[in-house]
Subunit: 351 residues, 2 copies
């Protein structure tokens, strides 16, 4: 049917500003396509700590579990970043949510917009035509392994652990996506040093036999960090573990010209969460300069996920229309620019 429950977590920094543009868009889509979205708002991150002491209040978790999809803004606050001894941190809320919802795969599609190619720090011939889909494992590895700091502050450790069950589902997902695309899958790891990386390599080698049409390559993460910039067009689908994926996908955002454009989807067995890949950008908070497009394109990924393909396509067209007509925020055009909400409205009007 046409009724969807959406959990909305604006979060910190510019989160609330970009999320309200996404809601503006969803309201228009509901009208045009005759859907009904019920928005249930929840607290998460620094905001939630300030108000409840808990970065992920139980109420928020409940709202998310009962929804068809979660729309999330951004997380993080310099108050916590600059205090290495804070016991409670905003990011714990997001990490726990990912774990509780079982969001094992973070998908980050990367492409270039013809009208923005000049914005990239990379040369046109390097990036033109690049089209990469990154699969980052999201609920295991060093993010979720045992952590310890001794009370005297003399030492600390973090454990990176992976099991076969952590790797298999996302590896199959990445192979299947490669089949739908250019049939090339690159596993990024550090198998010359890490036991966990060798486990990833072994498992991918094993299941590769089920996907004989896909070419499986391996690349060490240090080399990959270089190759992504030297020749991004060599990549089709990238598969990698949690920490490497965090680094590689932020790095890869430069290919498209702006991190302000990049959406992501986090997919689990039942639930799914949609968020921009950029952070909470606290310096910009409340100034109306944040680029809402990454969040709006996350909405498009959410519509895809809810099987509302027509609406998703229309929304993507409207975003491209705004970019082509240079109806963009200051990060994309410092000479002539519009506010966060002007850009949101322009896109909404075109739908």
């Amino acid at each position: 049917d046409n009724y969807f429950k959406i959990a909305v977590l604006p979060g910190d920094g510019i989160g609330p500003e970009i999320i309200s543009e996404s809601i503006k868009i969803l309201d228009v889509i509901a009208e045009v396509f005759q859907y009904k979205f019920q928005f249930n708002y929840g607290l998460m991150g620094a905001e939630a700590i300030f108000k409840t002491g808990n970065p992920l209040p139980e109420e928020t978790l409940k709202i998310c579990k009962e929804s068809d999809a979660v729309l999330f803004g951004a997380i993080g606050d310099p108050v916590f970043d600059n205090n290495p001894e804070a016991k409670v941190r905003p990011e714990q809320g997001l990490l726990r949510l990912r774990k509780e919802l079982g969001l094992f795969a973070n998908l980050r599609p990367l492409k270039t917009y013809a009208s923005l190619i000049e914005k990239s720090p990379l040369k046109r011939e390097i990036i033109e035509g690049a089209d990469i889909q990154i699969f980052r494992e999201l609920v295991s590895g060093i993010y979720f392994g045992e952590k310890f700091t001794d009370p005297e502050g003399e030492y600390a450790y973090d454990v990176c652990k992976y099991s076969r069950e952590d790797i298999l589902p996302i590896a199959h997902m990445a192979f299947q996506e490669a089949q739908k695309r250019n049939k090339k899958l690159t596993l990024i790891d550090k198998a010359n040093v890490l036991d966990t990386s060798r486990l990833w390599r072994k498992i991918c080698q094993e299941i590769a036999q089920e996907y004989p049409d896909v070419q499986l390559d391996y690349m060490f993460v240090d080399n990959a960090a270089m190759q992504l910039i030297l020749n991004p067009k060599q990549f089709d689908v990238i598969l990698t573990e949690n920490m490497f994926g965090d680094i590689i996908s932020d790095e890869a955002s430069v290919i498209g010209g702006s991190i302000g454009l990049l959406p992501s989807a986090s997919i689990g067995e039942g639930n799914a969460l949609f968020e921009p890949i950029h952070g909470s950008y606290p310096q910009a908070k409340g100034k109306g300069i944040a680029n809402p497009i990454a969040s709006i394109l996350s909405v498009a990924m959410m519509l895809d996920h809810l099987n509302l393909k027509q609406a998703a396509d229309k929304l993507r067209q409207s975003v491209e229309h705004a970019i082509e007509n240079k109806y963009v925020t200051i990060d994309l055009n410092s000479k002539q620019y519009y506010s966060t909400s002007e850009v949101g409205s322009f896109i909404a009007d075109h739908i």
Copy 2:
């Protein structure tokens, strides 16, 4: 006095080819400046495994410990990379050598060469004038923490551990280097997620008070991977842990136009080792196409370390002379290029 014992470990892939150019250079320097270098060759890496079963034979370790400096080529072989179940690996030799010699700081200087700026995938205005010194911790962290793979291959883990003593020496070194440069130090970490990163942040905050003229900044590694490409000129000295340093410094190599140009020094309490940052590049082995400059500039760093500043400067000038006169290998100029040994000889002749 003027007599130096140099341990020479050519290693794998293109290692032997580039090392023989470095020796050619050192022979000329010995003659011109009236020094005497005694070269003691040792096996390490895949070559050592094939010949002795051990990636770092005791004999090699002994040679290194008794020398004034170690000159190393490259390590790694696809035979091992593609076999996740190999028990002995070439890289273990290099890692053990770093540990045994206590080489806690890996220094990677980055700068751009005017005549090569066009070679970079990045736009001229982004990189022109960039000048970064990276300090990577080299003998702790996830590289050296406990590792485990269960016999059934169902799970594996790697432990990232840091103690105060691991962090202090390299942190002081980086602050002191910042004092000599533009007085800006950026600690790259993931303190919003990792306990070890919070320990790094805390210790750097503490000792920052001893360096009041240095501005200490923090940057999350995901953001840093992006900022290095968006705006490399914002960095002066970078300090980071082992794994992040591996990724970040290879990534940063794109700034200079070619990884084939970048040397590194690994410094310990007594010993020091000098190597190019590039790998063993097995596809190029024996073809005479490898760029010897990264290794030759590592020799310059070695001469600095041995306090032979005059020779080091002369050598750097000769390298710049070769680059300016386009006397370079195919990676730097695919239209007109010279072989590995022609480039080495050209530089040697200029000294």
